[in-house]
């Protein structure tokens, strides 16, 4: 049978009045009926552009300037508007990142679904409606009939994405394109969506083009994988072949840069991919990766276009590398520095959080509406030690951000204490904190773009905290700024640059330099790498660890990425609906997972391993509302190991299965690890 989608040496250019840029260069790929191909790569590699090219819907200014895109054997460039319309939504459909904005906010779910068959030849509105209801049931949405009359904003993010998937499958297309379908969703919801896609694929035999920056999600769905770098396909092959024996140095780099759930703390460093992708690299005739590649030989790599060459005996496994043998014979790069610091010895407690609660009063007063209490945090106790990393994990709505807000003084707690440097952070709003206390506690935020003032130079951004927090004079502060930049491995001439001239990773380094400017004792890092690419994340994570080793700070890491937490944390607190359900040393929390919620989180985390077992438990349902928290165990409504009514009526006892480990669960200690 012929391929559903076939791209032959596709090149896509972007041009406007000033510039001309090659977005995609010489990409060939094919997807047969029922096959699933994953395309991975970092931001700017052209993966989403390729997806849109498959639908002949390129953004303004872009066009396929060489090669052919064939769908069902027909060249998309030769099709007129009507022919394209009969393909789109009918033979090929797409699922997007951010389902909320992909659905029309003012049209009911039902109408948006029914539109699809009505556009593609269905005459009977009743039949279309029946099909829509059946499809909603197919994507396992509760009460499909009622769902039809609801609006997108009434659904949760996971439910919205199910609706988008149902919409895409309405016409039973031959090809389903998924563009980062789970990015931005919680890990448990991600696992459920991926599980659904697998099941639907089995059922309908739909071919899949799956686009993601996350190697773990691709491993869960795809048979084959293509790795994109700077608009070029650098390696493609069977997913086991590529993950098992990556041939291209970039693929190897990506896999080595990933923190692994299995690896454990150990103090090992990750291996970042050196350098960054520049516009000049994109335009290279030879290998685009060679400026960042440790195997590069100018004579072989930069002389001319590098063809796709067989990577090994595996059929179909090819890589665009002129030095395949040399790369194959080299050992995978090993982390440069191993931490030698012992992690077992005691270190002083710097931050001591005791029974912290945060209750927001809602409604009442002038604004009207019934008065209610929103419990964002309940009786949270934890401690961060000097030189150690405490990680706080949980889904959105678990109270992670509230905790960070409390500690940084944006809000004050309703009850409890957070003792740090002789002060109670829980009762001190930031504007009442003395300068010295502010100096000791610093924050690093998720999005470095929005935390740097775009109209101030890097120097201004770094010098300011030095002068404010350390009281340095102008000249001293400038010297100190240069030294700080050196500490975060940025060249000193960066000081004169503006934020927009820096890459995301560089900006996050500046954010780190700023946080460390005042010689802090405690740094709160709120998802410090989730806006960054994998290869850049590794470098930032290493840098954080280095800075921590050198300065002995306590790091409070807030993250949804369990593999990252596993890599960085000495101690972990698992939060659910504002309560700590499990807390203790990282090694004990992760292996074995004790609390059913921790276990579910771990099972849901995507692993970059095509042979990883399917998650045994996939958490369904949604977190209860903090306006009306359950009386018993907060997790009972979703718990796969619920014992009985006791879970709903009585708050769980705190158990101590191992020294230093606390687990809030009704299950007996002996029954906890399953």
């Amino acid at each position: 049978m012929s391929d559903v989608l076939r791209m032959e040496n596709v090149g896509i250019d972007y041009a406007n009045r000033r510039t001309r840029m090659r977005i995609v260069d010489d990409v060939s790929l094919s997807i047969g009926p029922g096959e699933a191909l994953g395309l991975v790569g970092e931001s700017g590699c052209g993966k989403s552009t390729l997806a849109l090219a498959a639908l002949s819907y390129l953004p303004r200014g872009m066009r396929v300037s060489s090669g052919r895109v064939l769908f069902d054997g027909r060249d998309l460039a030769t099709l007129d508007d009507a022919a394209l319309r009969s393909l789109r939504g009918n033979r090929v459909a797409m699922v997007y990142q951010d389902p909320m904005s992909s659905l029309n906010p003012v049209v009911t779910i039902g109408r948006q679904l029914v539109e699809v068959p009505m556009l593609h030849g269905e005459r009977s509105a009743a039949a279309a409606r029946d099909r829509a209801i059946a499809m909603l049931a197919e994507v396992r949405l509760p009460d499909p009939e009622r769902m039809m009359s609801r609006y997108p904003h009434e659904l949760s993010g996971g439910q919205q994405q199910r609706v988008v998937i149902a919409m895409a499958l309405m016409a039973e297309p031959a090809l389903l394109i998924l563009d980062e379908p789970t990015t931005g969703l919680d890990v448990t919801i991600e696992a459920a969506i991926l599980d659904l896609v697998r099941e639907l694929r089995r059922k309908f035999g739909t071919a899949i083009l799956f686009i993601s920056h996350n190697l773990g999600t691709v491993a869960r769905i795809c048979d084959r994988i293509g790795v994109l770098y700077a608009g070029r396909l650098v390696e493609t092959g069977d997913i086991r072949a590529v993950f098992g024996a990556p041939a291209h140095p970039y693929t190897r780099g990506l896999l080595a840069a990933l923190p692994r759930l299995e690896a454990g703390r150990g103090g090992a460093r990750l291996t970042p991919v050196a350098g960054t992708l520049t516009a000049a690299d994109r335009a290279r005739v030879g290998c685009a990766f060679s400026p960042r590649c440790s195997h590069a030989l100018p004579a072989a790599c930069d002389a001319g276009p590098v063809p796709m060459l067989p990577a090994d005996a595996e059929p179909g496994h090819v890589a665009r590398c002129a030095r395949l043998e040399a790369v194959r014979d080299s050992r995978p790069a090993t982390p440069a520095a191993e931490a030698t610091r012992g992690r077992d010895e005691d270190s002083p407690v710097l931050l001591d959080v005791r029974d912290l609660s945060m209750v927001y009063a809602i409604g009442g007063g002038l604004s009207g509406g019934p008065r209610a209490e929103l419990r964002a945090l309940s009786d949270v106790s934890l401690a961060a030690d000097a030189g150690r990393t405490l990680a706080v994990v949980g889904e959105s709505g678990s109270g992670k951000s509230t905790l960070a807000k409390l500690l940084s003084g944006l809000v004050t707690a309703s009850e409890g204490q957070a003792l740090f440097a002789g002060a109670d952070l829980a009762a001190l709003p930031v504007d009442e904190r003395p300068a010295d206390l502010k100096r000791r506690l610093q924050m690093v935020f998720q999005n470095p773009d929005s935390t740097l003032n775009p109209s101030h130079s890097i120097e201004h951004a770094v010098v300011r905290p030095l002068r404010l927090l350390r009281g340095l004079g102008r000249a001293q502060a400038k010297e100190a700024a240069a030294r700080l930049l050196e500490r975060v491995r940025l060249p000193a001439d960066m000081l004169r640059r503006m934020p927009h001239q820096l890459s995301g990773g560089q900006r996050q380094r500046v954010a780190l330099a700023r946080a460390f400017a005042g010689d802090p004792q405690l740094v709160i890092a709120d998802e410090p790498t989730s806006a960054l690419d994998v290869s850049v994340q590794a470098a930032i994570v290493n840098l954080l660890a280095e800075l921590q080793d050198a300065s002995g700070i306590a790091l409070l890491l807030i993250s949804h990425d369990l593999a990252l937490v596993r890599h960085m944390a000495d101690r972990v607190a698992v939060l659910y609906l504002g309560r700590i359900v499990e807390y203790g040393p990282a090694d004990l929390v992760f292996a074995p997972p004790w609390h059913p919620y921790t276990k579910a989180l771990l099972a849901a985390a995507p692993r970059p391993d095509p042979d990883a077992p399917e998650p045994e438990v996939i958490l369904g349902g949604v977190m209860p509302s903090p306006l009306d928290p359950p009386k018993g165990c907060v997790f009972a409504s979703r718990c796969p190991r619920r014992i009985g009514p006791v879970c709903d009526t009585t708050p769980p006892p705190v158990r101590h299965p191992a020294p230093g480990l606390t687990v809030a669960c009704h299950l007996e200690i002996a029954d906890l690890p399953s």
Binding site: L55, Y57, D81, R85, S86, L87, R88, G89, N90, A93, M94, Y96, D98, S101, S102, L103, N104, P105, V106, V107, E115, V116, L119, H120, Y151, H153, V164, M167, G368
Partner: protein, 312 residues
């Protein structure tokens, strides 16, 4: 819903009281004696005092305000000094004239600007967009009086097709409807220029939303995407602004009314204010505030109908 309406009604009453009271007191504080104005500069001090007492103006402010509101509730707004008639007669007369003009204008402005705004915004920087944008910025940037004079020069002086003044009387030799054409044209062009720009911006924004891409990639034709998915979303943001035009059309047409000698509400207010005709100013304010508050309630309800994410 009922709760919302009750709350709005309550707010409206409070606002009406506050505004009328402020206007009442302000008039009280401004220099110049009403009675002196009424009797003319040659009246004796005795006469002034006598009339003041007869009119009850020597009583405390609060008492007179309460009395005024009580009378107003019965539809009696007192006597106009300028027009020498009961205020209510003048008021309803002028308001009727203004509502006629405002209604005609509104009925043209809304469909006209929605059509042009949507056509311009659906393809950003396309040729329709460029032409409409030039048209709308030209219209919005010419002041009403200039546009009025300009149109007068063409259609009255040069062509002689239309009357130069619009007193709304049929003894002028021009049918009433012809007297409406020029004032309405000025208002429509000026106001639509602004609205088109608003709607265009909103439409451009909507057309960039991912759900438009979703609709196109369902296999929908561009026209259908615009009508079924973009239109309603594009009207959400400008909706309140569209309704604000009602306030402008009722109380803000004073320039156009002056240019065309149109006997409207705005001109009445201006003349009354200049002549310190407190009774008219008071009553007129009451009407203007009521219109504003009513459009606000209508706006909220319409907003909810347009956007299911809003609940009131």
């Amino acid at each position: 819903m009922a709760r919302y309406l009750l709350k709005q009604l309550f707010n409206m009453a409070i606002t009406l009281f506050a505004v009328t009271f402020i206007v009442f007191v302000l008039n009280e504080l401004t220099p110049g004696d009403v009675v002196r104005k009424l009797l003319g500069p040659y009246a004796s001090a005795d006469q002034v005092e006598k009339v003041t007492r007869e009119m009850g103006l020597d009583r405390p402010v609060m008492v007179r305000y309460a009395e005024y509101m009580a009378n107003a509730a019965r539809g009696d707004f007192g006597q106009s000094i300028v027009f020498r008639r009961p205020v209510s007669e003048v008021l309803w007369d002028r308001l009727g004239n203004t509502l006629l003009l405002a209604g005609v204008c509104f009925a043209i402005i809304v469909p006209f600007s929605v059509l042009l705004g949507v056509l311009a915004g659906m393809r950003e920087r396309g040729w329709i967009d460029r032409s409409v944008s030039v048209f709308s910025s030209v219209c919005a940037s010419i002041p009403e009086f200039a546009m009025g004079v300009f149109l007068l020069a063409i259609f009255v002086v040069q062509l002689g097709w239309l009357p130069g003044t619009s007193p709304l009387r049929d003894d002028t030799g021009w049918p009433i409807w012809t007297q409406l054409v020029l004032p309405a044209a000025v208002v429509v062009l000026y106001d639509a220029g602004y609205l088109i720009a608003m709607i265009r911006t909103s439409m451009v924004e909507v057309m960039r939303q991912p759900f438009i891409r979703t609709a196109v990639l369902k296999g929908m034709s561009f026209r259908r995407v615009v009508v079924k998915h973009a239109l309603r979303n594009a009207l959400i943001a400008p909706f309140t602004v569209i309704l604000l035009q009602i306030n402008y059309l009722v109380a803000g047409l004073v320039v156009v009314e002056m240019v065309f000698a149109y006997p409207g509400f705005g001109r009445m207010m201006l003349e009354a204010a200049l002549a310190k005709d407190i009774a008219i100013v008071e009553a007129g304010t009451l009407v203007a505030v009521s219109v504003t508050m009513l459009t606000q309630v209508v706006g909220d309800l319409g907003y909810r109908a347009l956007d299911p994410r809003i609940s009131i």
